[in-house]
Symmetry: C2
Subunit: 352 residues, 2 copies
Amino acid sequence: MAPKNDLLLRAARGEKTERTPVWVMRQAGRILKEYRDVRSRLSGFIELVKTPERAAEVTLQPVDILGVDAAIIFSDILVIPEAMGLPYEMIESRGPVFPETISSEKDLEKLRIAEAESLGYVAEAIALTKKELNGRAPLIGFAGAPWTIFAYMTEGGGSKTFSKARRMLYNAPGFSNKLLQMITESTIAYLKSQIAAGADIVQVFDSWAGILPEAHYEAFSMPYIRQICDAIDEVPVIIFAKGAYNSRASIAKTSCSVMGLDWNMNILETRELSLGKTLQGNLDPATLYADFKEVERQTKKMLDQFGFEKHIANLGHGVYPDIDPEKVKCFIDVVKNYSEQKLSKGRDNTSL
Amino acid sequence: MAPKNDLLLRAARGEKTERTPVWVMRQAGRILKEYRDVRSRLSGFIELVKTPERAAEVTLQPVDILGVDAAIIFSDILVIPEAMGLPYEMIESRGPVFPETISSEKDLEKLRIAEAESLGYVAEAIALTKKELNGRAPLIGFAGAPWTIFAYMTEGGGSKTFSKARRMLYNAPGFSNKLLQMITESTIAYLKSQIAAGADIVQVFDSWAGILPEAHYEAFSMPYIRQICDAIDEVPVIIFAKGAYNSRASIAKTSCSVMGLDWNMNILETRELSLGKTLQGNLDPATLYADFKEVERQTKKMLDQFGFEKHIANLGHGVYPDIDPEKVKCFIDVVKNYSEQKLSKGRDNTSL
């Protein structure tokens, strides 16, 4: 069923909208008391990801509480390595940890291309969410970009330098490409299962894009992102590659519909590079520590820079967990009201 | 005494040299067995920093063992907060931790402008090193940029987001500027004491530049970097602001002599922005995981892109601790031989 609020989908396709659509990365999460309540009744993050009813419940919370124009399915990019045969643990205040990592051709034998069935809990959560959403907003599916997933599988967890993962690219490019290809095929099947279950649009997160030098990003990330974009033709694709300053032009050349900007990407410069694609972003997430007046001022400034078409408003990265939800709501309300006001003025002027 | 090998100083001043000078960030450190031997006889990193004889010893090691064209005094950027009244601990495999942090105007009362005397151990290490160097290479002094020091003092240690530090800039800009000014004055006095003790050139490390949005970098980092550049007129100043893509033009406009590039900064683009300044960098530190042939190939490619003047060769960030010193030596030797060969060919052609 097509959502009644389809602003985000229309903006993603480059169509004009009555106002700028808005959602927030990590909107379903620790900023909301309602999320923490659900979470506290479970054993941890991974159980929440794997319990469709609860995942659907927290996915819907920001639609009801914050008034965003899209839900994003509550899940984790690391379900892919797990479905490929490499499980992980989520350790409070430290992040994801892989007890085993992949470091050689031999290790690849332990892995399989993830089958959509093994990720059925995500499809189920999507189906439940769609039903509950009942057209109030579109639902975003997502996956990690192959390079970012590769980085976790070889490094074994988060890292300041990801030097183990980066060593592979220099030392074992053949092995690296094989693993990246396995991840890519797993990801395409996974995204297609999300779309089949009801996702209206999908986002690919390349969280560790910024750590690669340009030549490596072009060699070890872009070809796989391109494969994903080409394979997903059912719904629009958003590519969010944090820190990929030097590869924005390459991303613009893929068949994706939307390019996500982190808070350090210059808006006007990226608009020029974007080949007419819709842009998403990019308020500095730390702005929401400021007072309401400053949040309003900065949000308006950002909206003016993006202009009022081909833009999906968002933060330039996930919302920080200690942000006051009222500040997030302020951001969302300013986007809605200011863009509507600007666009209705534009229409009035045109009709003069 | 002016060093006999003054290639780096001449390149920093924009003069022609017979070959490209080269050194390596973190060259005095864990990659060298000889360093680990010295370190293992002491209680830890901070004791090494505070023991002038040992700091001088490890400062000299890379000159003797690796053949770099400059020594950089073995020290730590966090000696400044300590000298201001905020001590820290260095915890193995975690990094620096401040038991107390600064979070309000009231906390500023606990701090003082650091007096050069309280950092006498660094000046002493510099004097000892200069004597032992005996002109074989110039000696680089250094300090953290005020924003990076501020980030540690308010955050209390390393962080993926530095959200506590960034919150201050939005929430308490007046307080932030006061603390930044105190750090700046401390840093200027400290760098001057290093120069008085014998440093031939100084580098300012803005390690966390990349985390700030452009407007904040311009408001909360650049004014203080500018003050430092203007205050230090005795020797050339190198500014290395990791991730400051959007502020390269601003850095070029300061009175610094050299701009450092991280491994993600496009060389040709930065050269265009650099207003004729000497550039330093920027081989991807992970390149040194590759085999010797690839290290050679990538190093030559980098040298060709910088051209063979107004360039100080280096990595684009500190050398990773698990890199084989023979690979570092390979990088250094390729810089020396290839640039000498290229420049002597240039001279031969001119004389035809």
